[in-house]
């Protein structure tokens, strides 16, 4: 393997060995503390524009298999690990992580003191830009500093035109703000007849299909970067049909109902935070990946109420509308990777659609 460097906007450089594609990329550097599910994480479009450091040091041990993609074309900018296990002859897979990243033109570095980088990110307390480069020279740092990351992430990952995922049950429209396959998987399991629409679909586009309900999907990026028309769409649709919003969808749902969303000092990606269900005081764990959060003070209690709270950073993790069958969660109830404990939210969504039918 050849030398490759992770360089950070603060001027530091970490030497490791390259794997995956020999591409040079720049992105925001974030870390994920999940101990399982690297394939799902790498293919999750939430990481568009981002380079992910895995805190779990041993990555690649079960290869890449056909059942665990969370997108067809991953948009992650790079993968940083301590120890690549480049296994392909696994009981369930034929493809190694290295081969997969090469196919997808994504660079990786192994042999990095990932813990020290994570500790640095924690101490700095804000996201930093970083690049994966073959030589850590002045030029590389200049390039890094000059790079402006796109804010058109949703437009870049969203489907350009509608497509169906037919089923025999309830009809659901999924708005693709970056769509984790887990959502389609859960809807498929419940026989839903799904139509996926692009992120810029209007309320009319949605309602014209006469769906039983709508899902706002997980995203990448900053909800403020989207056009206000998205909020208008949500405002209209939520009055007509049951709505379930997840991740970026949740942030947009909150904004459509006049709550404020702000950037977190440090992004959180993992599955081990205790989350409290407000009504029952029940503690659940879920897959989380967020750089933004709904400001709790700004939630208009006449419109929305908070359903879930992350007990670690006190962020709003779930909202429900007081007047309409609309609710949202910041975390990913489809798991993949992560605990299944909140999977029942999809059943709740189905029930709210069924109630409407009666």
């Amino acid at each position: 393997m050849t030398k490759r460097y992770l360089i950070l906007e603060d001027g530091s450089a970490y030497e490791g060995e390259g794997f995956g594609a020999p591409a040079v990329t720049t992105g925001e550097l974030v870390f994920n503390t999940s101990m399982t599910g690297y394939q799902e994480i790498i293919t999750d479009q939430v990481y568009h524009n981002q380079i992910v450091i895995f805190t779990q040091p041993n990555i690649g041990s079960s290869g890449i298999n056909q059942a665990n993609y969370e997108s067809i074309l991953p948009t992650i900018k790079g993968v940083i690990v301590r120890e690549l296990a480049n296994v392909s002859t696994n009981r369930i897979s034929r493809l190694s992580l290295d081969q997969y990243l090469k196919q997808m033109n994504i660079p990786g570095i192994t042999g990095i003191d990932t813990r020290s980088v994570v500790r640095k990110l924690r101490k700095v307390g804000k996201t930093m830009k970083a690049s994966i480069v073959p030589v850590a020279d002045e030029h590389a740092f200049d390039q890094l500093n000059a790079t402006v990351l796109t804010n058109q992430q949703v437009a870049q990952v969203s489907t350009p035109k509608p497509y169906p995922n037919p089923g025999t049950g309830l009809s659901v429209v999924v708005i693709d703000f970056g769509l984790k396959h887990g959502i389609l998987r859960e809807l498929g399991r419940r026989n839903c007849n799904v139509t996926v629409l692009p992120y810029n679909a209007s309320a009319e586009d949605v309602l014209r299909l006469d769906p039983d309900g709508v899902i706002l999907s997980t995203g990448p990026g900053n909800p403020h970067d989207l056009n206000d028309s998205v909020l208008e769409m949500i405002q209209l649709v939520q009055t007509e049909i049951p709505l379930f919003a997840i991740g970026l969808g949740h942030e947009l749902f909150a904004m459509a109902n006049q709550a404020e969303v702000s950037k977190l000092p440090a992004e959180h990606h993992g599955m081990n935070h205790p989350i409290k269900e407000v009504i029952t005081d029940h503690i659940i764990y879920a897959s989380q990946g967020q750089g933004f959060a709904v400001d709790r003070q700004s939630v208009d209690r006449n419109k929305l109420f908070v359903t879930y709270i992350d007990l670690v950073n006190d962020t709003v993790q779930g909202l429900r509308h007081r007047s309409f069958p609309a609710f949202s969660v910041q975390f990913f109830p489809d798991g993949a990777p992560g605990p299944d404990e909140t999977n029942g939210l999809f059943d709740e969504f189905i029930e709210s659609m069924q109630q409407r039918e009666v």
């Binding site: 503390t33 040091p57 041993n58 301590r82 296994v87 813990r115 994570v118 599955m271 205790p274």
Partner: protein, 851 residues
């Protein structure tokens, strides 16, 4: 705490056994300490003389040194009136005893509650049929086992289970044949035989899970039902080899997220169903070919895996459990101040890998059957922590094999290919070394995976290790290779062996080129928060996190993995040393690698280095910590020799006794006394007993004080005092005597570990503390006069226990090198005491007088 938990009775684990070692005492010590500091009155009943908790007033208010019988239990309950009992700390034996207690009705009568595990659950845990019913009811996946009365019914059953299945007769008359069948032909034969052997004409057909992957999950639950997963552990060896005899890793190495999450879901729902409060350890069998999995065992107590999980993740498991037992819920429990995020609710995430390697007793007992199977044979284990699977594994192996060549492949090199295949199929202890040899001979991953049922992933890793080994051997002095070897966990000594150099040469080459370890802190948040556990491990990366203080400090070198020969006593001594040094104001630093050790906890040690203990591991640590004193077990002779050239402030921890050959035959006695360099203060005379089949050597049974004629006694005291006063250094010494027609002096020596532990309990004092104080010249006269003025009104007896029964060994000699654990009891006079000690009738003694 509510009043119903104000006075808690805890049952100990008894003598250390093959199935449990010091982890029980370790859990009891940590939990009782936490309970006591919360104002709970604690009562502990146990008869393990090596228990650190028993008789320790920092942890336990009332120590009852009694054999663990229902009669004694009722006696203790009536004497102390506990408001609650913790039934599960003493492990499965304790749960069985509590079920017996439940049947007496005394719990209701005296209004005593059970903490942690409700009555109904205890019944289920003690009865596999009941537990299986419960699991079935809740639709947890369990192994299919059904009795059939015909071949047709058996074939029908295999439609759902698939092959292989295990067939055996129900209620057999006479002999019993147990067969594994791989197809219907074999099934027909087996059913035929089994039906013939059965008195009721029925055969049991059971789905075979041999070769499946074993996964173990540790979860916590509070009384309101909130749960979290502490760790998932993956066994390297497949089912068919007892989990305790398998190498294990945490976090799980080869599971897909969806498999992991489904297993987690079931572990949580089983724990919920059994209404367990506190810890639960659930074991699963995972069929690697289709991902189906089954619950195979549920253990709601502290065992080798929970202690491994706690040490590996840094999650303060015992502290949290103590609070759960007191009735707190997870959301109320606050972690110590060194955690910035102090909620107990965060699930541990690891940014390191921990490996657990078993230690087998076959070097001491070469006659035992060394094949591994469904019965556990290892006595203990070591833990290795690193930033890669390879590093963790190598470090755990180094910790386990410090006394021999960690990669001594000479024996394996001589095996023929046939023998290798045989040993791959029928695994023996330390198979991992054989696997490396097989890789060297060119066996492919697929072949090896097929023969051993070990996940191919591990062969990928072993191959890397094998390549590394040849790279090292082929490139003496190469700095890039040196760095790489260190990166993957090699010690300087291992490298020096491959380079045909002295260890010091490698160390020097490394120092000249600034290749030094860094120490990372084990942190259950994987770096997300500033969480300080005080537990560190070395690796060869860029950033070090251990910040040595300028305090007065002591490094104590631990006893390592639990092996035969009084390991319990050695760990007791280590723990007691830490306790005393801490009391004296030292910053206590422990280097150890046994996850089950009592010594390995943050109450006793301010800082723990979870490391193998070879010279190169210790020397750099000593350099950065710069301690005032380093305590090394005397038994580590090679280490002590090697350390000599580094001019470190070494002191020594005593070892097990090694008797010089007896001069004469007859009853043996020892006279034990304190010596401060000038004066001798007698503690008393111990009488040694001979257990059946004991050989010559260190006694394994004893009584204190000896019952003897006054004239003999004064003779012994006089001669003993004279001999001990001739010692060079202050300490606790003993002079050994044999009585024939007169009293002969045999030798004078430092009191061995076992006897220190026993006498501490017999005299209800802490002789380890006194030994340290004597050596430091800090022992006050008052303690001395109190102690030597003691005339115990009761006799105490001690007998070692051995692993022979568990290992199916007959005719082995009961000698100190084979000791696994020990029991003790008090009584009035010799006969009564021995009767009390020998409640189970397992011991046979005589006093040597006819010899």
């Amino acid at each position: 705490m509510n009043s119903k938990n104000s006075k808690i009775l805890i049952l100990g684990g008894g003598a250390d056994e093959i199935n449990h070692e010091t982890e029980i005492d370790s859990a009891i010590f940590q939990i009782t300490t936490n309970l006591k500091s919360a104002g709970v009155e604690t009562i502990l009943m146990d008869n393990n003389p090596f228990s650190f908790s028993l008789g320790n007033s920092n942890a336990v208010d009332h120590s009852c040194i009694l054999p663990l019988t229902i009669k004694n239990l009722i006696y203790v309950i009536k004497k102390y009136h506990p408001t609650a009992i913790l039934p599960n700390l003493g492990g499965i034996n304790s749960l069985r005893l509590i079920e017996e207690l439940m049947e007496t009705g005394i719990l209701r009568e005296m209004n005593i509650s059970l903490l942690g595990v409700p009555e109904a659950t205890i019944r289920q845990l003690n009865n596999p049929v009941l537990l299986n019913q419960t699991l079935k009811q809740m639709q947890a996946p369990t192994i299919t086992a059904q009795s059939v009365n015909s071949f047709e019914a058996a074939v029908e059953l295999t439609r759902s289970t698939g092959f292989p299945v295990i067939v055996k007769p129900v209620a057999p008359q006479g002999s019993l044949t147990r067969r594994t069948c791989h197809d219907t032909n074999e099934l027909a034969d087996a059913i035929n035989i089994a039906l013939g052997q059965s008195r009721v004409g029925q055969a049991m057909v059971q789905q075979s899970i041999a070769g499946y992957k074993e996964i173990e999950v540790v979860v916590l639950r509070d009384r309101l039902g909130t749960m979290l997963q502490v760790a998932g552990v993956e066994d390297f060896d497949p089912i068919g080899i007892h989990a305790g005899d398998s190498i294990a890793f945490t976090p799980t190495q080869t599971l897909l997220d969806r498999e992991y999450q489904r297993i987690r879901d079931v572990a949580l729902s089983v724990t919920r169903k059994l209404r367990i409060v506190g810890i639960n350890h659930v074991q699963f069998a995972l069929n690697p070919s289709n991902g189906n999995f089954y619950v195979i065992k549920n253990s709601p107590y502290f065992d080798r895996i929970t202690s491994f999980a706690a040490k590996a993740t840094g999650y303060p498991l015992a502290l949290v459990c103590a609070n759960l037992f007191m009735g707190k819920v997870l959301s109320e429990i606050k972690l110590p101040d060194n955690f910035t995020y102090q909620s107990a609710l965060i699930e541990p995430s690891m940014d390191h890998i921990a490996a657990r390697v078993p230690i087998w007793p076959f070097d001491v007992l070469p006659d035992s059957n060394q094949r591994l199977g469904t019965q556990m044979r290892s006595t203990g284990s070591t833990m290795g922590i690193g930033r890669s699977t390879e590093e963790a594994l190598i470090k755990a192996l180094r910790a386990a094999h410090f006394h021999t060549d960690a990669f001594n492949i000479a024996e394996n090199e001589q095996l023929s290919d046939d023998q290798i295949v045989q040993r791959l199929i029928h695994p023996r202890a330390n198979r991992i070394i054989l696997l490396l040899e097989a890789l060297k001979r060119g066996y492919s991953t697929n072949e090896l995976a097929e023969l051993t049922k070990i996940d191919p992933y591990y062969f990928y890793k072993l191959k890397k290790l094998h390549r590394l080994q040849s790279d090292v051997a082929d490139n003496p002095g190469d700095l890039v290779i040196l760095k790489k070897a260190k990166y993957y966990g090699y010690s300087d000594w291992m490298i020096s062996q491959l380079w045909n150099q002295e260890e010091i040469d490698v160390t020097n080459l490394r120092s000249e080129n600034n290749i030094f370890p860094v120490y990372k802190e084990i942190d259950p948040s994987a770096g997300e928060f500033e969480q300080h556990t005080g537990i560190f491990y070395s690796t060869f990366e860029s950033e070090t996190e251990s910040q040595p203080s300028n305090a007065k400090k002591a490094i104590v070198v631990g006893a390592g993995g639990f092996r035969l020969g009084n390991a319990g006593a050695a760990d007791y001594y280590t723990a007691a040393t830490l306790q005393e040094l801490k009391r004296q104001g030292y910053e206590t630093i422990l280097i150890n690698n046994n996850p089950s050790a009592v010594s390995m906890n943050c109450i006793l040690a301010d800082k723990i280095y979870s490391e193998p203990i070879e010279t190169s591991d210790l020397v750099f640590l000593a350099k950065i910590e710069n301690p005032d004193v380093i305590y090394v077990p005397r038994v580590r002779q090679r280490l002590i020799q090697e350390l000599d050239q580094y001019h470190l402030p070494l002191k020594f921890l005593p070892q097990s006794g090694k008797l010089s050959p007896h001069l004469s035959n007859g009853p043996e006695f020892s006279f034990t006394a304190l010596f401060d360099g000038e004066n001798v203060w007698p503690l008393g005379i111990t009488s040694y007993l001979i257990q059946s089949q004991s050989g010559f050597g260190e006694p394994t049974a004893m009584v204190f004080p000896a019952n003897m004629e006054e004239s003999d006694q004064s003779e012994i005291e006089m001669q003993g005092t004279e001999h001990i006063s001739g010692q060079n250094q202050a300490g606790i010494y003993q002079t050994l005597f044999v009585k024939t027609n007169r009293i002969h002096v045999e030798q004078t020596r430092v009191v061995p570990l076992t006897e220190i532990a026993f006498l501490s309990k017999a005299l209800n004092t802490d002789l380890v503390k006194i030994a340290i104080n004597l050596a430091d010249n800090t022992l006050d006269e008052q303690t001395v006069s109190q102690l030597t003025g003691l005339h115990p009104d009761q006799t105490a007896a001690f007998a070692a226990t051995f692993p022979f029964k568990a290992l199916h060994l007959f005719g082995e000699t009961s000698q100190s090198t084979n000791v696994l654990g020990a029991e003790m009891a008090f009584g009035n006079g010799l006969t009564d005491t021995l009767k009390r000690l020998n409640v189970k009738g397992a011991f046979q003694f005589h006093d040597g007088s006819f010899m």
